[in-house]
């Protein structure tokens, strides 16, 4: 069956109001996490275009299907950017097509700078969406501070199209950095590396990226710390960090703009996992717990971001969800399967009282179960996990 591509919010609302069967909600279809799923494809591609951009107010409003590339180039022309640095999933998932801004917020996609600037959800100021009953809903607005009523903006961010189809988003943008540099230490084991990153993150030097690539084969492990700002400021802070991290080894400072940008783009997009066999998991933990969790998984390859708080795992195909999640039961955290066998077990099963709240919300927003059934916390998934 062909993909439905409504050209207006009203048309989308009419489709959902009159629907009898479920939909697969998608933006550009580049992040089919937990898919493929049943239902007719319903894409926001044609709900496209930037409707407002005020650089002096650091705000942009765009329709959900607007290509991310269009947004990023419009911002770049004013020296601004999406500070949460959304990852591009195409390389690691082997998908094609154009990522949309609706998909970025629908999946709450952030990159290395999340550790300093915040996640996608922290930048989302307002939403318009159509719920499962076909009603057009508005929440939040386009101003930076807003506590008028409940914050459904945060609820919609990361809800993967299960509570409503986003049609328009307003979000905060920030000035881009005048320059960037990387302080790098090679050869550290995972636990020592995370300790070094923690030291850097607990400094006043405004680290905007903190990652560890364990290496393997001929590649030495690399522990990376990013600094951004004016050239003088970056150089000064790099010097201070080199001193503070002296006990961990020789910390080199790289400030070649293109090289620095490339290193962090590759990390953001999980380049080391591109074209490799196996399932990919995304694990969120307390940073100091991360090395232990990785060590307990023989055969796993890891990339540490967010100072160790985000661990990307490449594991053999079909690795049981339980193997990844069991250690998290004791230390806290959660794991999502980004690539692998579709469907069940993709999302971390919530504890019973939280699951009940999530189910309750879902029934209110989408009483007929039309939107991405089977995705996120559906009863089917909980029963089988």
């Amino acid at each position: 069956m062909k993909t439905l591509e409504p050209e207006s919010e009203a048309e989308l609302a009419a489709i959902l109001a009159g629907a009898k069967a479920p939909f697969r909600v998608q933006g550009g279809g580049t992040r089919p996490i937990g898919g493929p799923r049943e239902g007719v494809a319903l894409a926001t591609r044609r709900l496209s275009g930037i409707t407002l951009y005020e650089p002096g107010a650091l705000t942009m409003v765009a329709r959900a299907g607007t290509p991310l590339a269009e947004i990023e180039s419009t911002l770049a022309a004013e020296g601004q950017r999406l500070a949460f640095e959304p990852m591009d999933h195409r390389g690691v998932l082997g998908t094609t097509g154009e990522p949309t801004i609706g998909g970025v917020f629908g999946a709450n996609v952030s990159g290395p700078r999340r550790i300093q600037a915040g996640a996608a959800r922290d930048f989302l100021l307002g939403v318009r969406f159509v719920d499962g009953r076909g009603q057009i809903i508005r929440n939040g607005g386009r101003v930076m501070k807003n506590v008028t009523g409940y914050d459904l903006v945060k609820l919609m961010a990361g809800s993967f199209g299960t509570l409503g189809v986003l049609t328009e988003l307003s979000f905060k943008v920030l000035p881009g950095a005048k320059s960037a540099g990387t302080v790098a230490i090679t050869g550290l084991d995972d636990a020592t590396a995370i300790a070094a990153l923690s030291r850097a993150l607990a400094s006043p030097f405004e680290v905007s990226g903190a990652a560890h690539l364990p290496g393997g084969g001929n590649d030495a492990a690399r522990t990376l710390i990013r600094l951004e700002g004016s050239q003088a400021s970056v150089a000064y802070r790099a010097g201070r960090l080199q001193e503070a991290l002296a006990q961990f080894g020789d910390a080199r400072f790289d400030h070649d703009g293109d090289a620095v940008a490339g290193v962090w783009r590759d990390l953001r997009d999980l380049r080391p996992f591109h074209g490799r066999e196996g399932d990919v998991w995304r694990v969120s933990v307390k940073p100091s717990d991360a090395p232990g969790i990785v060590a307990a998984l023989p055969g796993a390859e890891a990339i540490y971001d967010w100072g160790g708080g985000l661990v990307w795992l490449l594991v053999p195909r079909g690795t049981a969800a339980q193997a990844i999640r069991a250690p998290l039961d004791t230390v806290g955290g959660h794991a999502t399967r980004i690539r692998g066998e579709a469907g069940e077990g993709t999302f971390h099963p919530p504890p019973a009282p939280v699951a009940a709240l999530q189910e309750g919300l879902r029934r209110k927003f989408d009483p007929r179960g039309l939107l991405n059934p089977g995705l996120m916390d559906s009863p089917a998934q909980m029963a089988s996990d």
Binding site: D122, V147, A202, L310
Partner: protein, 479 residues
């Protein structure tokens, strides 16, 4: 201000309620003597008062759960309370409600500098969270001006902000996890020491839900290392409009100050008379503060001053020492006290797009004439969160009503230009009836549907946030 009439059946069952609470909680935790419950009759919105049926001050999450279970079984409304500094009437009781205060829950449960978080009980005051970590050079970023008194519980319920939120964000951006008790006594854990909780962002949903979805007893908060230093520059202008353009140009230039504060002439004059900070007598003042090492601060201030010069300032004063910084901040920090000296005042809290600043300030000036009440403006300009202070005389018949009408007109103006009713103080009862000016019926319906899920009986702080007419069907269905 309308409130639903108290339920006579509940009033009649007070002895049974108190007896059951007394059995479940330590003796000192239950207050039912009307002489003592009076202390809880209002929050910082003192125009509205009503003593509650009883007050409970539990000492643990389990005790909170026990108290809620009893109220749930008996169908008694519960109003959660932190320190009672809400300016929106969020903690105002009804005669048939129990105040559940977290004032005795003040412990630090865990500090972890390596992973950069602190876990506290939510009765702890905002400032004492920073107090617990500052010897190690750390701080908790959200800093409402009420930080000496207000509790983390209220900060989470109102999603409070502070002077430094342009750089560090508001409460929701610094909250990592909570322990929360639902109205039926179920204890729920959301988030924790890791980032971005699993599943739906319920943490984001409950932050700012004004005590209507659950009682938050513990919180995990992000802590940061303090910057090496901070210094402001003071810039005076001949016109509000030019000051507004200067704010916008600073932001566009790519420096991100920690604070951009704005004061207009009435406010400058009042502060000057009160604190003698040496402010110039001009139309508009900006205080712009940046952080970093000395050299980094100089570099940023240089850029800011260059931008300011292009707007022909009447005054430009760069701080070069802690003493000068303190002097520049002195007037701003005493603004509320200064206004209080002159008059009674009402403090508004609408937010507008920064680009609308000149237009909105001009309109407020015109409306001041129409309503016959003076108004002073002092606010966080970087994020458009305005705090117009309307001056009135509480002893003059009709003044309060005129002041409230003026306030409502300003807030409607904020909505009209693309902003909102409240940037950080919350809706409570104060802005409850204006919600229909910002939201369509279906926008409010779905918010109330969220409350239906968390609190199907509509017992938690039921008469707040949503206009009574809008919420009637939900409250009646629950009863």
């Amino acid at each position: 201000m309308d409130m639903p009439p108290p339920n006579p059946d509940i009033l009649a069952r007070k002895p049974e309620l108190v007896a059951r609470l007394n059995r479940a909680l330590p003796e000192a935790a239950v207050i039912s003597d009307p002489a003592e419950t009076r202390a809880y009759e209002c929050d910082a919105l003192t125009a509205y008062k009503c003593p509650p049926l009883a007050v409970v001050l539990p000492g643990s999450t389990q005790e909170v759960a026990a108290a809620l279970r009893i109220c749930h079984e008996m169908g008694v409304p519960v109003v959660p309370r932190g320190a009672g500094t809400s300016l929106a009437g969020g903690a105002l009781p009804s005669a048939d409600s129990v105040i559940l205060g977290v004032a005795r829950l003040t412990e630090v449960l865990e500090t972890d500098y390596e992973n950069r978080f602190i876990r506290v009980q939510t009765g702890r005051t905002n400032l004492s969270v920073t107090g617990a970590v500052e010897t190690k050079g750390f701080f908790y970023a959200p800093d409402p001006s009420s930080q000496l008194a207000c509790a983390i519980a209220g900060n989470i319920a109102m999603n409070s902000g502070g002077a430094h939120c342009l750089k560090y964000g508001v409460t929701t951006n610094n909250l990592m996890g909570v322990t929360m008790v639902l109205m039926d006594g179920t204890v729920v854990e959301l988030g924790g020491a890791h980032l971005d909780a699993a599943g739906y962002d319920l943490l984001g949903l409950i932050c700012g839900s004004e005590g209507q979805l659950g009682v938050v007893t513990e919180a995990t908060l992000r802590i940061l290392h303090k910057p090496e230093g901070a210094r402001p520059v003071l810039i005076g202008f001949d016109s509000n409009e030019v000051a507004g353009h200067c704010v916008s140009d600073i932001i566009k230039a790519g420096v991100l100050p920690v604070a951009i504060e704005f004061m207009d002439r009435p406010c400058i004059r009042a502060c000057e008379a009160f604190a003698g900070a040496g402010y110039p007598d001009c139309e508009a003042l900006l205080i712009v503060e940046v952080e970093g090492s000395d050299a980094e601060i100089d570099e940023q201030l240089e850029t800011i001053i260059e931008i300011a010069r292009a707007h022909d300032p009447v005054e430009l004063r760069q701080s070069t020492s802690p003493e000068e910084s303190a002097r520049i901040w002195l007037g701003r920090k005493s603004a509320f006290g200064a206004m209080g000296q002159i008059n009674d005042y009402m403090c508004l809290d609408g937010t507008i797009p920064v680009s609308q600043l000149p237009h909105v300030l001009k309109r407020i000036g015109e409306m001041s004439g129409e309503f016959g009440l003076d108004v002073a403006n002092v606010f966080h300009a970087g994020d458009g969160n305005m705090h117009p202070l309307i001056l009135f005389d509480a002893n003059k018949p009709g003044d309060l009503e005129r002041c409230e009408a003026f306030g409502a007109a300003i807030l409607k103006l904020c909505v009209e230009v693309g902003g909102c009713l409240t940037g950080e103080h919350g809706v409570g009862i104060e802005k409850r009836d204006l919600m229909i000016d910002q939201y369509a019926p279906e926008d409010l319906e779905i918010q109330m549907a969220v409350k239906d899920v968390f609190d199907p009986g509509w017992l938690l702080n039921p008469a707040k946030v949503f206009p009574l007419q809008s919420s009637a069907a939900h409250r009646d269905a629950a009863a």
